[in-house]
C-alpha cells in the first residue's frame, strides 16, 4: 500500500549479556588468582578476535526485540506501551538508526526525526544561542533552516533574556524548554518520540503535547513511547503493546491500554514470584498489595519481599500508586514507618504493612516502587495492580459512576440553614 510509511518485518535485536557466577562465600586466594588469570586470558582472546569485553563467566544471548512486525500509515499517531524492559526503547533505537537490527528489516518512507532525549548534544559551556544551532544540527536541521526558525524557537522556549548566557546557568526547566523548542521545530514527516514529556512543569508539558498533536494533525506520523497512559490515550489513536520484546497487542489505543492493565492484574494475581530487578543488585521477589481486591474504606495489606545476592543497604523505599492512565495518586513513603537504611542480603527481607481505610474510588490502580540503595535511586512502575472495590458504605448511599469521582473518597460532613446567605440578609434589611 502506498500510504504505509513504516513497515517492520520480523524485526529482532539481540544483545549479549554476562552473568557473574554465584560462587561460595569465601574464596581461597589461589582460586581468586586462578579466576583472574582465566578472565585475563579470555579478555585477551576477545581482544585479538575483536569481540566485545563482557564482565562475567556465563555469556547469554538476550533478545530485546523479537519477531516484531507492523505497518504504520501516514498521519497515524501510535503509542507504544509496555513494562520497563519490554523492548520499547530498543524499538525506538532501531527506528531512529542508532542501532542496527540483528534480524528482519524496517522500511521507512519519508524523513524521520527522533527525539529520544531532550537536549541531545547540549553543551553546558555554550550559550543558549549556540546550543540552538548545535542541537538543531545534530537533530538534522540545516543552518539556514535553523536561522529561519530561530526567533520562533526562542519565543516558544521563552528564554529571550538568557539567549547569551551559558546554559550551565539555566535552571533545568529552562534548558528542557529550550531543548523541546528546538525539537518541536524539526517538522519531519515522521516523528519518533521517547518519554521526553516526563520532564518539565505541567504547563510546559501541556504546551509540548499541544505541539505534538499539531504535528499529528498536520498529517504527519508520530511514534510515541510513554509510561504516561493519559498522554498516550489523549494523543494516540492506535496503541501497540510490547512484552518481553514481542508485540502482543496492536489496535485502538483504549483497548490496548485496558488489555495491558488487565494483563498486569492477572499476572500479579498468578505469579507467586516476580524476580524483578530494582536497580543494580536488588531483586523484588514478590509484591502484594490488597491481594484479591480491597473494598474502598477498608484496610489494605501489603507485603514486599526483597532479596540481594550481595548485601545491599536499602536507604529508602516507597510504594507508588498510579491511576490506570498513569497519574500518580499517592505515595506510601516507608521511611515514615521507620524503614530506612535496612540491610538486604541473600536471606531476603520482607516488609509488610497496611494502609488504613483505603480512601480510593473503586477501580484499578497500578502499583510501582521507588527504592534508593548505595547504587542510586530506581523507580519501577507496574509491578502489581491494586483493585479497589466499591465500598460497603456505598451500598447505603448515593454515588455517581466511578469515572466522575476522581481517585479519592473524602470523609466529610455538611449541614444546612435556610435563608442565611449574606445576600438574602441584605435583601431583607433593605425591605425593612
Amino acid at each position: 500500500m502506498a500510504d504505509v510509511v513504516i513497515r517492520a518485518e520480523r524485526l529482532g535485536k539481540k544483545y549479549a549479556i554476562a552473568h557473574q557466577r554465584q560462587g561460595a562465600r569465601y574464596v581461597a586466594l589461589r582460586e581468586e588468582i586462578g579466576r583472574a588469570a582465566s578472565a585475563f586470558w579470555r579478555r585477551a582472546r576477545d581482544m585479538v578476535r575483536g569481540t566485545q569485553l563482557l564482565d562475567g563467566e556465563d555469556i547469554e544471548e538476550f533478545w530485546a526485540l523479537r519477531d516484531v512486525g507492523f505497518e504504520i500509515r501516514r498521519g497515524e499517531v501510535v503509542g507504544v506501551i509496555g513494562r520497563n524492559g519490554a523492548g520499547k526503547s530498543t524499538l525506538l533505537k532501531v527506528l531512529s538508526r542508532i542501532t542496527e537490527p540483528s534480524e528482519g528489516r524496517v522500511v521507512i518512507e519519508g524523513r524521520v526525526a527522533s527525539l529520544l532525549e531532550v537536549g541531545t548534544g547540549f553543551h553546558p559551556e555554550l550559550t543558549g544561542r549556540d546550543n540552538i544551532f548545535l542541537n538543531g544540527a545534530i537533530l538534522g536541521m540545516g543552518r539556514a533552516e535553523i536561522r529561519r526558525k530561530f526567533d520562533e524557537i526562542v519565543a516558544f522556549a521563552d528564554i529571550e533574556r538568557f539567549l547569551d548566557t551559558p546554559i550551565k546557568r539555566y535552571s533545568s526547566g529552562m534548558s528542557v524548554r529550550l531543548a523541546f523548542a528546538v525539537a518541536a521545530h524539526l517538522e519531519p514527516e515522521i516523528l519518533v518520540v521517547d518519554e521526553v514529556l516526563a520532564v518539565g512543569d505541567a504547563e510546559f508539558q501541556k504546551k509540548c503535547l499541544g505541539k505534538m498533536s499539531e504535528v499529528a494533525h498536520g498529517g504527519r506520523t508520530v511514534f510515541f513511547v510513554s509510561h504516561n497512559m493519559s498522554a498516550v490515550q489523549s494523543l494516540c489513536g492506535r496503541g501497540m503493546l510490547l512484552d518481553h520484546g514481542r508485540l502482543v497487542a496492536d489496535g485502538p489505543v483504549s483497548d490496548v491500554i485496558q488489555g495491558y492493565v488487565a494483563a498486569l492484574e492477572s499476572a500479579s494475581r498468578e505469579a507467586r514470584t516476580l524476580e524483578v530487578a530494582l536497580g543494580p543488585g536488588l531483586v523484588l521477589r514478590r509484591l502484594a498489595f490488597g491481594e484479591g481486591g480491597v473494598r474502598s474504606g477498608e484496610d489494605a495489606e501489603f507485603r514486599i519481599e526483597l532479596m540481594s545476592a550481595e548485601p545491599i543497604v536499602l536507604s529508602e523505599a516507597c510504594l507508588l500508586i498510579h491511576s490506570e492512565l498513569g497519574v500518580r495518586v499517592a505515595l506510601v513513603d516507608l521511611r515514615n514507618a521507620g524503614i530506612r537504611n535496612v540491610r538486604v542480603g541473600d536471606q531476603g527481607l520482607v516488609i509488610s504493612g497496611r494502609v488504613k481505610s483505603l480512601p480510593l474510588v473503586e477501580g484499578r490502580y497500578r502499583i510501582g516502587m521507588w527504592v534508593m540503595t548505595q547504587f542510586g535511586g530506581f523507580e519501577q512502575i507496574d509491578l502489581a495492580v491494586l483493585s479497589a472495590l466499591p465500598g460497603a458504605i456505598d451500598a447505603e448511599r448515593e454515588v455517581y459512576p466511578a469515572m466522575y469521582r476522581g481517585f479519592v473518597e473524602l470523609e466529610f460532613s455538611a449541614g444546612i440553614e435556610q435563608g442565611a446567605t449574606v445576600a438574602s440578609r441584605e435583601a431583607r434589611s433593605s425591605l425593612a
Partner: protein, 275 residues
C-alpha cells in the same frame, strides 16, 4: 528537515551501503561539531588560545637547549637550531593532539551516540578538525621566529600545504583506529599518552633525521611521522629529504589511513551498544 533520505531501509548491514553518501549529507554536522570543539576548548582557561602559542614555544626552548646546546646535535645546513626544531614540532603537535583528541571523542560524546543518529565518523573527524586551529596559530608563530633569527626560507615553502595535508592524513588513520579501539577496550586511554610520550623521542622532533645512520634511514622511515617532519623541514629550512625514506613513510601513512577507516567502519555500528 533537509538531510535524511526519503526512503530508508534498516536491516543488518544496511549502514554500509550508503556510507559515503550519508557522510556527505551530514557535512554540516561535521562543521558544527568542529566549531563546538574549538569554542569549548579554551573556555574557562585564563589565557585561552594563548596556550596554542605557549605550549610549542616552551617545548621548542626545552628541545633546543637539550639537543642543540647540551647534546650538541647538528642542525640542518645553516638554519638556526630553534627554527629547525620548531619546523619539526609543528607536525608532531598536529599528530599528537589529533590522536589524543580523536581517541577520546566517541567515549566523550557517548550520550549523543546513544541518542541520535548521524555518521559516527564525524565525531573523531571533528575532534581532529578542532586541533587544526591550534596548528594554524602555532604555525603563524614561525614568522616572528624566523624574523628574529633573520632567516628566510627557500621557494619550497610554497609546498607546505601539501605536507600539512600529509600530516592530517597521517593523524586520521591511527586516530580513527585508536578511537574505535578505545570504545571497546578502555585500556587505550592509558596507552595513548604513553605512546605519544615515546613518540616524541623516537620521531625526529628535537633533532634532524640526518643524524640517523644511512643504513637505518629506510627502517627509520617506517615511522610515518618521519616523512611528514622531513617534508616540513624541507619546506621551512631547506633540508632535502631522503626520498626513498619519504616514499616509505607515505606508504605507511596510506596503509594506516586504510586500516583506520576499515577498523572504524567495522566497529562503529555497534558503538551505541557498547557505550
Amino acid at each position: 528537515m533537509s538531510i535524511s533520505a526519503e526512503r530508508i531501509v534498516l536491516e543488518p548491514g544496511s549502514a554500509d551501503r550508503h556510507y559515503w553518501r550519508d557522510l556527505w549529507a551530514y557535512r554540516e554536522v561535521l562543521w558544527i561539531l568542529t566549531w563546538r570543539d574549538v569554542k569549548v576548548r579554551y573556555k574557562q582557561t585564563v589565557i585561552g588560545i594563548a596556550w596554542a602559542v605557549l605550549r610549542p614555544l616552551l617545548t621548542m626552548l626545552i628541545l633546543t637547549v637539550v639537543f642543540g646546546r647540551l647534546g650538541r646535535f647538528p642542525s640542518e645546513g645553516h638554519a638556526p637550531y630553534a627554527v629547525m626544531v620548531f619546523a619539526g614540532m609543528l607536525p608532531w603537535f598536529l599528530f599528537s593532539s589529533a590522536l589524543s583528541e580523536a581517541s577520546g571523542s566517541i567515549v566523550g560524546n557517548a550520550t549523543m551516540v546513544g541518542k541520535v543518529y548521524f555518521p559516527r565518523l564525524l565525531i573523531p573527524l571533528a575532534a581532529i578538525g578542532g586541533t587544526l586551529l591550534d596548528f594554524v596559530v602555532s604555525a603563524a608563530l614561525l614568522v616572528p621566529l624566523m624574523a628574529w633569527y633573520r632567516y628566510t626560507p627557500g621557494w619550497q615553502v610554497a609546498l607546505l600545504p601539501i605536507f600539512v595535508l600529509l600530516g592530517v592524513a597521517a593523524s586520521v588513520g591511527p586516530g580513527l583506529w585508536l578511537t574505535a579501539l578505545n570504545v571497546k577496550y578502555r585500556d587505550f586511554r592509558y596507552v595513548i599518552p604513553f605512546l605519544l610520550q615515546i613518540g616524541l623521542y623516537v620521531s625526529p622532533v628535537g633533532f634532524t633525521s640526518a643524524v640517523v645512520p644511512g643504513d637505518w634511514r629506510l627502517v627509520y622511515s617506517l615511522n610515518p611521522i618521519v616523512g611528514v617532519i622531513d617534508g616540513f623541514r624541507w619546506c621551512l629550512v631547506g633540508a632535502e629529504p631522503y626520498w626513498p625514506g619519504f616514499a616509505v613513510s607515505s606508504a605507511v601513512i596510506a596503509l594506516f589511513l586504510w586500516l583506520g577507516l576499515a577498523r572504524f567502519r567495522a566497529t562503529e555500528r555497534s558503538f551505541a551498544d557498547m557505550l
